[in-house]
Amino acid sequence: MSLLVLDTLTKSFGGLSAVDDLSLAVRAGEIFALIGPNGAGKSTTFNLISGLLAPDRGRIFFDGADITRTPPHSRAHLGVGRTFQLMQPFHDMTVRENVMVGELFGHTVLKSLPAARRDAEEICELVGLGHLLDRGVTALGLADLKRLEIARALATHPRLLLLDEVMAGLTPTEARQAVASIQGIRARGVTILLIDHVMSSVRDLAERVAVLNFGRKIAEGTFETVAHDPAVIEAYLGQDEADGSR
């Protein structure tokens, strides 16, 4: 059963097409990865799915319903959650309060403040931020900021979680922990769609992969299939060559 369906999604910025005729389906309960060279349109796709951008053409379906015109906060209520690549915690609040925002507003049923506080603390414990609950976010290190991003997204109890480059900048140990965490989240019933450049993690996590280049999907399948696809190799190598000749 497809939880998320993208149907011929297209988005351009001033003549440059960022996402071009993209169609894909993510099945409930799977971990799906979106990869591709820089500028391939992956972040734009996430912005389209979460509702921060409106597509020029195409539609988005979540659990069968057309959410193309639904505003971002309503999509959160329906169960779409995401993290951000450039971590942007709410700077005037503590760790606990950051997560509470999600608990307070991420559901259709309103939670009381004490209940939200309790649930937020629980989630923080889960991702390993339990000891930092009262800390102001400006003092957090990279790995903890990423944990906070995930905690905030989890606070809205998503059914689909969009993970935006969570592996970037992590040490191999931290990356292994992150992979385990993500698998744990999936085990609780959350479908995961992730963007990443760290191929080892993508290989460990993803059941299916789609490759984007210049906004178009050029391959889809298991990691192994895609890794051996000549079009994919060329897309990446082409980028490397272009980088190398500079």
Partner: protein
């Protein structure tokens, strides 16, 4: 609540009550203080109502617009349509709210400096229109009927009630889930939206509440000072004062704007007697000084002072000194 906290709270209330009653008591021999107190309370209401909007990250320069709309609506309705003053004031508040919702919706996509300039343009456009059109009295202004027969002590109680209501609203906003919505929106609208916060609704609501109190205060001002003109009612000085006080006293809090307003207005009185015109120079100076040296305002200074006290029971509101 500990016994100590109760005693502290009780003392604070007693002091406040005394301060509030004092001008009334002294009025027999020194009516000046009652007049001054009314001015201070008007200023405090403007400051706190501005702050509520600021909590969503919308730093408006249009506060005077709602003040002026409240004033003009009430005066026009009471003089031309014969409505009682209470109705006039209520109508003033309503008109201000409608204008705020309009402005709020129009400026939804504008950020930072763009938003500020747009709100300034809105306020000044209103001033120019009011100044040109005969219906609103043009540059000569309008005369207003007196509130409660001009009885200053009663008027004082009216503005006090308005301020009290606003203080309760502000206090409640900061203690409820709204605080989380406002602060999240202020920090990052997109992330807030993605986490389920209805950004549009909260931004417009903040605008409406802010304008409601600015509008009713404007109407109050009109019926106390009995004369309004575009130059005063829509004056940039009103908008400036409304923003300097919270910045000076401590943004996004209930006490900050109030303390800032009282201190500033009292200081202004002192200055006004020494420097006739140009006394707003102190606002400019303070604004620059606060930005450069005291970004948290008085509240920030107070919090860092509290943090220095080496008792383990003393913590800032969130376990960390503000501004650290």
């Amino acid at each position: 609540m500990t016994g100590r906290a109760l005693v502290r709270g009780g003392l604070l209330l007693a002091v406040l009550a005394a301060v509030v009653v004092l001008p009334l008591w002294v009025n027999r021999t020194q009516p000046y203080y009652l007049q001054l107190s009314i001015n201070v309370l008007i200023f405090a209401t403007l400051a706190l109502s501005w702050d509520i909007l600021a909590r969503t990250g919308q730093l408006s320069l249009a506060h005077a617009a709602f003040y002026g709309l409240g004033a003009y609506t009430s005066v026009l309705l009471t003089t031309r349509a014969g409505l009682p003053i209470v109705a006039g004031m209520a109508a003033g508040a309503v008109v201000a709210v409608v204008a705020a919702v309009l402005l709020g919706v129009l400026t939804l996509r504008l950020r930072g400096i763009y938003f500020a300039i747009a709100t300034l343009a809105f306020s000044e456009t209103l001033r120019v229109i009011t100044n040109q059109v005969r219906f609103t009295g043009a540059a000569t202004g309008l005369v207003a009927p007196p509130l409660l027969g001009g009885h200053r002590p009663s008027q004082y109680l009216v503005i006090l009630t308005i301020l009290l209501a606003l203080t309760l609203v502000s206090w409640w906003v900061n203690r409820s889930r709204w605080h989380f919505a406002f602060t999240a929106i202020r920090a990052n609208e997109e992330v807030a939206a993605v986490m389920g916060v209805d950004v549009v609704r909260f931004k417009v609501l903040a605008f409406a509440i802010s304008a409601l109190f600015a509008g009713i205060t404007g109407a109050f001002y009109a019926h106390v000072f009995l004369f309004i003109s575009p130059l005063e009612a829509y004056s940039l000085a009103v908008s400036v004062g409304a923003l300097v006080a919270p910045i000076f006293g401590g943004l996004y809090t209930t006490a900050g704007p109030l303390v800032g307003a009282v201190v500033l207005r009292a200081g202004e009185e002192v200055l006004r007697s020494t420097v006739q015109r140009g006394y707003p120079i102190i606002y400019g100076f303070l604004l620059a000084a606060v930005i450069l040296y005291m970004p948290g305002g008085l509240a920030g200074v107070w919090a860092s002072l509290l943090a220095r006290i080496p008792r383990p029971a003393r913590r800032g509101a969130r376990g960390e000194p503000a501004g650290s």
